[in-house]
């Protein structure tokens, strides 16, 4: 069998997805046997130029992790789309915008101001800021354009499969690579490497009636590990999140953060979570409800932690 030609690219992400690939342990050696890795910036010395000179669809599959934040991200996404038969959005950022997507609650200008001018760690008066173009030794250098907001991968290119998770669980990564290598591909547009049921379905904690008078941050409460987190007033998104992760967070005492994204057919994971969470509040008094809600600081950042660009409103509207 001819070796599978693959590329892995890291767009606006933290690098954890690349580590998730390495987390497949000894399997990574099988990957090296099955595949020629033509580009993988974190691990292999491939150049963008090597991709540019390839024939169209020369690559069998490209895995892209990270959201689209800069013109470089978009350029590579488009280039890999053109050169690949199959394009996989790998991890929450490529799938839904991920943590970088939370930047859509602020403007590009505010980010610039904070990062280069107002940051407390910057020497007072230092106004060194990046320029779109600079001249060094007679050469002109430019940096990629920082887009006005964060986009999902499928906002800029056609995506064949989505492999969710922050990061995707190693077993799911393995299964996806094997499925591609053996040509057992699901319908285009499928979310793969996950379950069709919610995280709650796989969670072993006891679930009874949910009525909450007070919400707690995980460190504010000594929790009962046998009992549903939500019933203990600890915010958990398991009920509105795709399973398949192995219930990683609730099993370690943290509420599910929603990284596997919405269930099939759901348009807005955060809205569903809003519904679920407020349904269990045990009060009919507006003032008391308000007080109970104060126990959930910054709700939008919780509900859209991994999927703001994937939500109905996608961003904060400009004033």
């Amino acid at each position: 069998m001819a070796k599978l030609q693959i590329a892995l690219y890291w767009a606006a992400g933290c690098g954890g997805c690349d580590v998730a690939v390495l987390d497949t342990d000894a399997f990574i050696l099988t990957v090296a046997e099955l595949c020629d890795i033509r580009l993988w910036p974190i691990a292999v010395d491939g150049k963008y130029e090597d991709i540019e000179v390839m024939a169209d669809q020369e690559l069998d599959v490209a895995f892209i992790n990270g959201a689209i934040r800069t013109s470089e991200n978009e350029h590579l996404a488009k280039l890999l789309r053109q050169k690949s038969k199959v394009l996989v959005a790998f991890g929450s950022c490529a799938h839904m915008g991920g943590i970088p997507g939370l930047a859509n609650f602020v403007d590009r200008e505010e980010i610039f101001q904070r990062a280069y001018l107002d940051n407390p760690s910057i020497e007072p008066g230092n106004r060194t800021v990046p320029q779109p173009e600079s001249r060094v030794n007679g050469h002109t250098l430019d940096i990629p354009k920082f887009y006005k907001r964060v986009y999902r991968l499928n906002d800029v290119v056609d995506v064949d499969y989505y492999l969710p998770g922050c990061p995707p669980a190693p077993d799911q990564v393995k299964a996806a690579i094997v499925a591609i290598a053996t040509g057992r591909l699901p319908a285009k547009g499928s979310v793969v490497g996950c379950s069709d049921r919610a995280v709650c379905d796989e969670c072993k904690r006891q679930k009874e009636e949910k009525k909450v008078k007070k919400f707690h941050r995980p460190w504010q409460k000594i929790q009962d590990f046998e009992k549903c987190l939500l019933e203990q007033g600890i915010v958990c998104m398991g009920s509105v999140t795709r399973g398949g992760c192995g219930v990683r967070c609730p099993n370690t005492g943290q509420g599910c953060r929603g990284c596997y994204g919405p269930m099939a057919g759901v348009e807005d994971q955060g809205a569903k979570f809003l519904s679920a969470l407020t349904s269990i509040i045990d009060s009919k008094d507006p003032a008391e409800i308000e007080k109970i809600l104060e126990g959930i600081p910054d709700f939008p950042a919780i509900a859209y932690r991994f999927g703001l660009p994937n939500s109905l409103l996608q961003r904060r509207m400009r004033a």
């Binding site: 006005k148 907001r149 569903k272 809003l274 969470l277 009919k284 939500s311 409103l313 904060r316």
Partner: protein, 144 residues
Amino acid sequence: MSYEPRIVGFLCNWCSYTGADLAGTSRIHYPANVRVIRVMCSARVDPTFVLKALRAGADGVLVCGCHPGDCHYTEGNYKAMRRFALLQKALRDFGVEPERVRLEWVSASEGQRFADVVTDMTERLRPLGPSRIKPTLEADAVER
């Protein structure tokens, strides 16, 4: 043509829709800015509906249900009340003015109240101008 706010109204079947009906049969005048969708209960109004209406270009969304204690399904309107409290907070972070989304209790006998609510909401929306949500997201798709 002058700007007319477009309001999507979700009215519960048992109280508010009947109240709106009463406004009609009583020939009470109110602005034609509201487009009414009948739902069985205010608790049926998934926050997704509100966001979707805003995303599709609505300038305001009005949710009406039975007064607290009067819900046909005993507690549905309390669920709506709780959802709405959090939804309002969340919308602030999206840069959506609080006037654009409103929850009101209108009973089956309150035709006049329904008319007053729609009139008041329309007048409060007018000075805000058209919602920026749809044009903003359309522009984002074209120019990054």
